[in-house]
Symmetry: C2
Subunit: 161 residues, 2 copies
DNA sequence: TCGAATTTATTCATGAGTAAAGTATTTTCA
DNA sequence: TGAAAATACTTTACTCATGAATAAATTCGA
């Protein structure tokens, strides 16, 4: 009610704060809803999970294979995590650890033929799911959203160092 | 380059798919970056975590207390998860389980005075952090983002049932 | 070339999430 | 009334993530 006598901010700082918070909560809600859908569908359709899908996606994109450290960096998760995921995928015969002749500390991980086949099927479905989940936005809106998210991402990158 | 001779879709379906996927990946990246920042700051500044903060935020918003099932619904996590979080917060004297005289199966969970005090301090800082993290968008852009996310959320709700 | 520092991957402890099964208490209704 | 269904929460077993500690191989500098 009482406008402070101090001249400084042109906009109501409290309202601004509230707005940032509202955007953040919506962002979080939408992400969680989409993720939940993808997780559920991946599980019911393929008996798989998002982390496994993401790991296989990276291997699919790099047919020459990747080192554990590279997977860790690309997936933005810790090495221990990659070890566990890779162990299970290897048990199931979907990926393969192949010795690196140049460096006995490391090896390259790659999809097996069966892994390739299975990932191909999942990726195709996955893309259709995402299209459906974002069908609430038309072409222009998706472009707008992309632009705004890009700006946000750039700003966030300046913060994270 | 080559426009298909088929008359039907006004836009290239393959490009559309790619666009939905791009929006989704940006959305995910931004959410993860913001979450990582908030997690880190909550831990270093308050020795706490996001799930704990979220649970306490719901209790702060509902001073009359909430049932476990209500917390589960509001936080969009399973009951077992809420049990674990509540157990720890109760051990630390930040929340309290109070018997419901009307239904001995359930009880209401509420913040203790110490919990209120501690949450108040965290919430204040948290809001400043969010404002800073979203400072890459100006007022109009935040409003635009909010509008787009609302549309998306509505669409997603029709899917989840 | 030897030893120190770095890199690569694994293991372990911990925290947070899920699904499914279990327990206890109410509610419903034939 | 009392057996079946529904509800509220916990427990258990599992997945996935982190960070710290470890082990092994490589690299680099003196």
């Amino acid at each position: 009610m009482s406008t402070p006598a101090t001249a400084s901010p042109p906009t109501d700082a409290r309202a601004e704060e509230h707005e940032a918070l509202r955007v953040w909560l919506r962002l979080l809600t939408c992400t969680n809803l989409v993720e939940a859908q993808l997780r559920t569908r991946l599980r019911t359709s393929f008996e798989s999970t998002l982390p496994r899908f993401d790991l296989m996606a990276q291997l699919d994109r790099h047919p020459e294979g990747l080192k554990m450290s590279e997977l860790s960096r690309l997936l933005m998760v810790t090495g221990g995590n990659v070890t566990g995921l890779t162990d299970k995928l290897a048990e199931e015969g979907l990926v393969e650890r192949r010795d690196d002749p140049r460096d006995r500390r490391s090896f390259t991980v790659m999809l097996t033929p069966e892994g390739k086949r299975q990932f191909g099927a999942m990726a195709h479905e996955h893309e259709q799911w995402v299209v459906g989940l974002f069908a609430g936005l038309d072409h222009a809106e998706k472009r707008q959203m992309l632009k705004l998210l890009d700006r946000l991402k750039v700003h966030l990158s300046t913060i994270s160092d």
